[in-house]
């Protein structure tokens, strides 16, 4: 059991949990959370791909890709959450009026 095997399978499991959650969750906020889990799972697999068996000098290119992915994911999350806030406010106004 080496760390790359353990964490690689962890990443795939987290991705699967996020995928099921994004498709099946009943709450909008939870769907966003599930998508974020997917991105972390994908990050795990990429970081594992960069790992080298003597734990020194991993491949920097996948690391840079994961950092880019994290920043893109927070942009997407922020827009999704703004849409949820807007939608919920409009629905609340409809219920009142």
């Amino acid at each position: 059991m080496t760390p790359d095997l353990i964490y690689g399978l962890t990443g795939i499991a987290v991705f699967a949990i996020g995928l099921v959650g994004a498709l099946c969750a009943q709450d909008r906020l939870r769907r966003v959370l599930a998508l974020k889990l997917c991105s972390v799972g994908a990050g795990f697999v990429l970081v594992v791909a960069a790992w080298r068996t003597p734990p020194a000098d991993p491949d920097p290119v996948p690391h840079a890709l994961v950092i880019t992915g994290i920043v893109v994911m927070i942009s997407a999350t922020a827009v999704a959450l703004a849409l949820i806030r807007r939608l919920q406010t409009l629905e609340a106004e409809d219920d009142d009026g």
Partner: protein
Amino acid sequence: MTDAATLFDLLLAGSVIALAIASLTVRDMFAAIVLFVIFGLLSALAWVRLSAPDVALAEAAIGTGVTGALLLKTLHHLRYVTGKLGEGQARDLTPIATVPAGVIWANAAFCGMITLGLALAFLGAPQAGPGFDSLVAEAMPASGVDHPVTAVLLNFRAYDTLMEVVVLLAAVIAVWQIERGLSDAPAPALGEVWQGFARLTLPAIVVVGTYLLWKGSEAPGGAFQGGAVLAAVGLLLLLSRIYVPRPAHRGLARWAFVLGTGAFAGVALLVSGGGRVAFEYPAQHAYSLILLIEGLVTISIAVTLAALFHGREPVAAPAPEGRNDT
């Protein structure tokens, strides 16, 4: 020693998976977000174990810290507009049409098949194949910095990073546009932070953020991690009401949003010409140029992330309760 390390890895992997499941199944949405934050921090710890400290820092600061703050703010907003602010447990804040059980099971079955395929592909992939590490190591002397990840981000694959900054800029524009129609609607006041706490921690956060930025050329750290830590300064200033956004600050904020993208693209264009292509920094100035880009991008990232947290653009208050922080 190896056994203890393996045991630790197994425990950590188990905790990460359990927290992922728990954050999607726990009833209370607030608890779900807190579990998600713990999940993110433990993932960052796992990435430290995989000798990826840069990624771990970015995940802890941006993927967990700022994302968690955004989620909690949105949850607060949803509870406010649905009138469930006082309730401790609010499960279906944004109920969508109920999905039939058959569809859920079909989805789960397809997800299982996808997962099985991914796992088989992962286990069957060649171990320790040649990556880009030798190419990067070969080109490091020409990069101007000593840390491989920074060299990849700001020199070898600088186009990716430029586009990443553009995505962040697009996100803040989109958020301001989405919430523009809501500018007059009342927004919930966020919980107050004790100003003494802010005064104590703000200088420390500024030092940590700047250190991360400065250190990025030779050690883990860099513009994104430093920017996210500095964004925490913005969040604290907003929460403790030391800084209250005013409509007059919109112009300044817009300049700060485009500063990173503009400087990045400007340097790329200025160094091109004379036989060089964009992002081909002259060797003797590479370090200064990278540091200049990183510094300006850091400011931009910090302001953008804080603006994403704040949400709507500051507008003139029509009535005393019209603003979110009055």
